[in-house]
């Protein structure tokens, strides 16, 4: 490849990869739960992505591609290996737990005030890594099921069942706090029919 070709390639790498910098960092920090490790992870991801860019097919999904590099890099890091060792092999075979009657019949208004941000963040932090990543890709990155499936290299059905289990775990974690809050709102007369 001549010099101008290399430049062209760099141009498009930069154009594709730089806008994702903040999001990739955020995702890396959620995975590693540590600032230094998140920085290392992002840096390594960019290095690998730049090296492998010639194998990336322009016109296909760059975001899924670079997230996949980041995630694989994490999973093969020391911390990642440690984390995944605690994930049972039959993680995805687990039966869909029966939702409790309460959960099915009384969809409590999830009125999360700004003050409960921290609460929610803590609950997300405590999710098993396979739940945390699928939830963040869906809700924060707003990826489609197909994109998540490409990123995580698992079938769409697995994406859906992990998502639904992640949300259920989160809801059951939050429920005590939420009901309390809903009660407060009613008491204050600020509930306006949600």
């Amino acid at each position: 490849m001549d010099a101008s070709g290399a430049n062209l390639q760099l141009d498009s790498f930069e154009e594709l990869a730089i806008p994702l910098f903040d999001q990739l960092y955020n995702f890396a920090h959620w995975l590693t739960q540590n600032r230094d490790e998140a920085e290392d992870l992002v840096q390594e991801t960019y290095v690998k992505a730049l090296k492998g860019f010639s194998s990336f097919q322009l016109g296909t999904n760059f975001r899924a591609w670079i997230y996949r590099i980041l995630r694989n890099t994490f999973l093969t890091s020391r911390k990642g290996l440690k984390v995944t060792m605690t994930v049972p092999l039959d993680f995805d075979d687990e039966e869909e737990g029966e939702e409790s009657a309460i959960e099915r019949d009384t969809p409590e208004a999830l009125l999360l005030a700004r003050s409960s941000h921290a609460l929610l963040q803590k609950a997300i932090d405590e999710l098993p890594v396979h739940f945390r990543e699928v939830l963040l890709l869906c809700e924060v990155e707003e990826m489609s099921y197909q994109e998540i499936s490409d990123t995580l290299a698992v079938p769409i059905g697995t994406v859906m069942s992990r998502l639904s289990r992640a949300r259920r775990t989160l809801r059951s974690q939050l429920r005590p706090h939420l009901q309390q809050e809903a009660g407060l709102r009613i008491a204050k007369g600020t509930n306006h029919g949600l």
């Binding site: 910098f21 920085e39 969809p107 999830l110 009125l111 997300i124 809700e139 998502l163």
Partner: protein, 247 residues
């Protein structure tokens, strides 16, 4: 019961991932079933809360500049357009933010939030999630993503063009955000359910302060509309009228 079969697909529905036919059937069911609509709303709220809470960590300035340098030190480029644009956007957003942060008070908080949404969206790398100038494409895209339906005006023989739309949230209330173009200005139209916002809106809170945008807001058919942009008052009014006529 019909609901039981839907409940298993609630997550897929709120993620907008059911096949289109099922999305429509579910829409129809949700609008007539209090239990499912409450369920959908609570899930949408959780989605929104996670969306906000999930944007938690920002890279340090030191790390950012280190990475920028390491990428920029690769073979030279003639024009660093990407970076220049990014820098320009940061600058503009900085200026706008400080402009209305300076004016912000509880009184015009709703207006400021609408202005925030408008600015933040235009500054993002992908302002719209459904890119289309065709209202017949944009309108159905919102089905199942927000708990209400609305009409979009016909734009033929007007100076407005539709760029696309995205989902948005105001005070955790889900709504539609549409972006229009007129004479090189972008105008945002926001639509929410009035009853979800009512408690937060008072006549006073809707008065824009001395800010750099023009805005129109009104309620119609149970929906609250906001039209905002740096276009002229006349353009904002005209787009508002088109919406009022279409609803």
């Amino acid at each position: 019961m019909v609901c039981e079969s839907w409940k298993e697909r609630l997550d897929t529905y709120v993620d907008g991932e059911l096949p289109q036919g099922e999305m429509r059937t579910f829409d129809a069911h949700v609008s007539s079933c209090p239990s499912c609509s409450a369920n959908v709303l609570s899930r949408l709220q959780l989605k929104r809360a996670i969306h906000l809470a999930g944007k938690r960590f920002t890279p340090s300035a030191e790390f950012r500049s280190r990475m920028q340098q390491s990428i920029a030190s690769k073979p030279r480029r003639v024009f660093r357009l990407g970076w220049m644009l990014a820098a320009a956007v940061v600058l503009v957003v900085g200026i706008l933010t400080s402009t209305y942060l300076g004016n912000r008070s509880g009184r015009d908080q709703v207006f400021s939030e609408i202005a925030d949404l408008h600015v933040a969206t235009l500054a993002s790398s992908s302002p719209v999630d459904v890119v289309s100038t065709d209202r017949h494409t944009v309108k159905p895209w919102f089905q199942g993503k927000i708990p209400f339906a609305f009409n979009l005006p016909e734009l033929q023989n007007t100076e407005f063009s539709l760029l696309g739309g995205r989902m948005t949230y105001l005070e955790q209330t889900p709504g539609a955000h549409l972006i229009y173009d007129v004479r090189k200005h972008h105008i945002s139209v926001f639509i929410f359910q009035e009853r979800s916002l009512a408690a937060k809106l008072t006549d006073r809170s809707l008065k824009p302060g001395n800010l750099s945008f023009n805005m129109q807001t009104w309620t119609q058919g149970g929906l609250r509309y906001f039209v905002i942009g740096d276009a002229s008052t006349a353009d904002i009014d005209n787009l508002a009228k088109l919406f009022q006529a279409a609803s």
